[in-house]
Each structure stands twice: as structure tokens, then as C-alpha cells.
Symmetry: C2
């Protein structure tokens, strides 16, 4: 039982990221029921929608679960009120300062993990008193760092910077990659893309099929001048790329993005005009499966890879 | 003894990349003498300079060594003539088609590894008959792929695409990262940045010191419209970034780059006007050491990490 398992009271240290338009009660409860930690993605929910998803998660699972709150969210107070009223046990915060809500959440007996893309922010998170760090590399769909530090380099950097329990995220979708993350110093992983394409994901089926089709070079970190996000290539992507290559202004990019693009693409299945957010590991995902099947496969791959590592000779 | 060790007849599967302006006879012979495989970086050598370095490497070491030939090199025929005349046992080719020289080199009894940045090029390399693949991720200093696939995602992709002996490169500068690469399916690693900053590297001391100062976000993959290369931020970098952000043309970027920028920065130590190529892992490098000390540290880290992996429980 490692520190991540103890902290969240889960069977193995696997967290399914709380993704906008993907992570509703079906996905969160399925992951928790399988022995990992499921997160609801509050970033795409009105506060009362979040309340409904929390209650449905509890009906579908007795296991611990959490909520991801991106701190770009306009009405954070209302979300946090729902979270405390409903006695959610775990909150992952991202895309903002860990100082903002950590003490408040701790006062309500809630465990807090904060998502960072650099060792500098990991240090700030530790100073803010969070219980765990998620270090998320350049490969992730929701990567927020302008430094573009990949998981291979980020995890050892963050491991040197903090002694807190550490989860790796970004580019992880197989058991081999989970073992690699552990070798780099992580004590568990947060995975997104694989679960975005699962049966229980609330994403539109056409978006899920698009994830399966996505091959090498099929995603790219875009909109770095606004909030960086990794997108699947589609006609909307092409417009953004064209604008960026000719040096479009921040205002022009904002106008091009407009509002509701992610909902349009990921939830409504508009593969032409929608914004399709996914991690680079999409290139390794080729079937839509129920969560319990996916997790069983991950466990087998993890165990097999660990066995192979145990056979390696010292240098 | 794994396939990489057998193929190159080395004590452990660690290759020091053949880097322009860094990898002369001192570095290559030191790595080979320590039990890894040292490569000469022919990309920055005239053919007769390469001949001199090959002969000096042989005087300094009885162990196997190789030459890296970037296939952008203008007078490849002359380089290959030197390589065959001097009976170099191993050649790593990069930045071009593996079909071009593999059969020729094999006819002269030379082992061939080819560097790729995608699974698609790994398949082409296998079809061309190479003996081993180096899969080099987005993190690398010399990364050539426009797909920006990181090592964490690239190695499992390439492992699925080919059954050839596989080396991982990009983002690797510590023993933890070597173990991670092995978990991802590699059978060894090629490392550059750490050796660029070693005592035996032929790079200018001021460039080496600049590598030590490079922190998180201190490098970025630039000039993607010409040949992508990862650069340290300096005044020259700033000019390129400014030009790229305002959508400069390929011709303007070529004029800005000019000729001899890498030599100026890395070999002559002009930290203002020179091009400073290095991998993202530079942020983890903080001392200039002799190669034998570096390799001893890597072995200790590798062994310690492997021992930790052996203690992990199955899921």
C-alpha cells in the first residue's frame, strides 16, 4: 500500500482524470468500482449539474471518488459550495493557484491534489499545503504549461522538488507507461485519454471514434498564446494552425475560438467545427471498451512489465 | 546480455549520441572505454577531420565505437569513403532515408542503426534492412520530427511497429529515465545532452556552463518550418521566436539562421549570436564531470531504480 493508495483509500494508484464533457457519474463510478479513483469533471458542469452527478456517483458506487475543479471556472464559489454540501471526499484542482482553495477544502475535511506542469509550481503547491501533486507533461490533452516539459523530464524534476505523494500524467495509456512513470519517481498515475474513449465516458460516440482514428502526429498543442490545449487535427484545428502560422493576434485567436467549441466537438460530436481535446497517447488507443475491461488490461500489462523489469540485470 | 549489447559488443546498452561540435575522439573513446558505445559526430567534420578523429579514437581505445552521419550532410560520399577505408565497425544514420546507405554499409561489414522520430519511419528502416532503431522523442536536442511525439509515447509506438533491437533517445539523462525507457520497450538508450556537458566533450566551456544554467522551460523546439531543432533561450533564440510569432516566411527564417550558427554557439562559445542545441533534459544537468564519473553515476542510479522496481507489488 503506497502513499497514494493510503491517501485516497483505493486498491491501486490509478486515477481517471476529471475531463470536461467526458467525466460524468458513469465514468467516475466505474473507475472507482474497479478499484481506482474516479473524478468528476466539474469544468463542464453547472453547479447543480455537478450536484446531480455527485449524487448519482454515490448511488452507483460505495467507493471513494473526487471532483476536478479547473480554477479558470467562472463561478468557483458555487461549485465549492456544492462540493462541501455534498461532502465530496477528494478534490483535484488545476489551472490556477493552489493557494486559493486548499485551506478551505481542508477545513471541510477534503483531501486536495493539485495539477502542475513544472517543478516551480509543485513547490508552490507544497507550500500551499496540498496533500498530493499531479505532474502533467506536454503530452496531456489538458496540458497548461508553456514550458512544454514532457512527462519523461517533468516527473524526475518534480520528484526532486517535493517530497509529497506524486502522480504522473500526460502520455500514459498503457501498463508499460505506468511502470515507466513509477521508475521516474511517481507513486501512481492520472490517465485521461484512454477513459475519454471508454464506454462510460459521456463524450459523443463520434468523438470517441475520432480518438481511435487518431494516429502519430494526429494531435498538437495549440493556442499557446491563450490557454494551451492539445487538439486533434480537424477543420477547426486547421483554421487555428493557419492563424497561428501567420502570426494572428491574441484577440483574433479568441474570436476564432469563440465559446462552446469543446462542447460542440466532444459532447455534440461536431468533428468539423468542434474543439477536440485529447492527449498524445490517443495514437495508441484503438478500441472503445468498458472501464472494467480497460482496467483489467492495464493491470495485466503493468504486472507483465514489472515482471520483465525484475528479470533485468544490474549494470 | 541483451540484443543491443550483442550487436555492438558492449558491456551495457548505453550509447552516447554523435553530436555536432561535441562528439570528437575524446568523448567517443571515453564512453567506449567505460563500457558503453561512443559515437563520433561526423555532422560537423570535414571528411579528413573525421579520419583524424577515427584514428585518434582507435589510439585512445581498443573498444567498439561508431560514427553518426546525418544524411543532410552535403558530401556524404566522401564521409562514407573515409568510414569504409578506416574500417569503422558501426554507423548511426539520421535525418534522411535509411535506404540510402544501409546496403552499402552492410557490404563493408558495418553494423547500421537508424534514428527515427515515428513508428512509420521505424517500419521503413526495418524494410531497408538496418540492424537497430533509435527512436528519438520530442525532448531531444536533435529531434527531427514535426509530429512532436514525446519519448513516453514514441517508444511503445515504435516497439509495436518493429521487432528490431530498439534504443530510446530524447529526455534521458539519469538512471531513472533509463529504467523508464526499458519499461516502455527499449533495449537500451542513446543519450546526448549529459555527454555534451562532460569534460571530454569538444564543446566550448561557455556552452557547457550554459547547459548547467538551463532550467525548466529553458529550451524549446524551434525552426519547425526548416529543420526542427531544440535550442537554449538566448538572444539569437529570441530573434527566431519573434520572427516565428509574427509568421515570418521560410526564406526569412533561412536568412536569419544563416550559416555556421551552431559552430559559433557550441564550439566557439558565442552565447549571444550562436545556436545552442541541447535536449530538454538539460534542466536536470548541473555539473561538468568526466565521462567515467558520469557513467558510474548512471549505473548506480540505474541499479538503485531497478531495485526499487523489484520491490513494487503487482496490481
Amino acid at each position: 500500500m503506497n502513499r497514494i493508495q493510503s491517501l485516497f483509500n483505493i486498491d491501486f494508484p490509478l486515477i481517471a482524470g476529471g475531463m470536461v464533457w467526458c467525466s460524468g457519474w458513469r465514468l467516475a463510478s466505474a473507475v472507482s468500482n474497479a478499484g481506482g479513483l474516479g473524478l468528476l469533471g466539474a469544468g463542464s458542469m453547472h453547479p447543480e449539474t455537478l450536484r446531480e452527478h455527485i449524487r448519482k456517483t454515490r448511488l452507483a458506487s460505495q467507493k471513494p471518488f473526487g471532483v476536478n475543479v479547473p480554477l479558470l471556472y467562472p463561478d468557483q464559489e458555487a461549485l465549492m459550495a456544492v462540493i462541501t454540501e455534498e461532502k465530496v471526499p477528494i478534490v483535484f484542482t488545476s489551472a490556477g493557484s493552489p493557494k486559493k482553495w486548499t485551506a478551505f477544502l481542508h477545513d471541510h475535511g477534503i483531501k486536495v491534489a493539485h495539477v502542475v506542469s513544472s517543478a516551480a509550481f509543485a513547490e508552490k503547491s507544497e507550500a500551499a499545503g496540498v496533500d498530493a501533486i499531479v505532474a502533467e507533461g506536454f503530452e496531456a490533452g489538458g496540458h497548461e504549461g508553456r514550458e512544454e516539459t514532457s512527462t519523461m523530464v517533468l516527473i524526475p524534476s518534480v520528484r526532486k522538488a517535493t517530497s509529497l505523494p506524486l502522480l504522473a500524467a500526460g502520455g500514459i495509456g498503457t501498463g508499460m507507461q505506468i511502470v515507466a512513470a513509477m521508475a521516474l519517481g511517481a507513486e501512481g498515475v492520472q490517465m485521461g485519454s484512454l477513459f475519454a474513449a471508454s464506454e462510460e465516458s459521456s463524450a459523443h460516440i463520434d468523438f470517441k471514434k475520432k480518438i481511435l482514428e487518431t494516429g502519430e502526429g494526429g494531435t498538437k498543442l495549440m493556442l499557446k498564446q491563450l490557454a494551451p490545449v492539445r487538439l486533434i487535427r480537424n477543420p477547426f484545428f486547421d483554421k487555428v494552425e493557419e492563424a497561428e502560422l501567420r502570426g494572428a493576434s491574441v484577440d483574433e485567436l479568441k474570436a476564432l475560438l469563440g465559446r462552446g467549441r469543446a462542447k460542440k466537438g466532444m459532447f455534440e460530436g461536431d468533428l468539423t467545427e468542434g474543439e477536440l481535446e485529447i492527449g498524445q497517447v490517443a495514437s495508441l488507443i484503438d478500441t472503445i471498451q468498458p472501464v472494467n475491461v480497460l482496467i483489467e488490461q492495464l493491470k495485466q500489462e503493468y504486472n507483465r512489465t514489472l515482471d520483465q523489469m525484475k528479470k533485468l540485470n544490474s549494470w
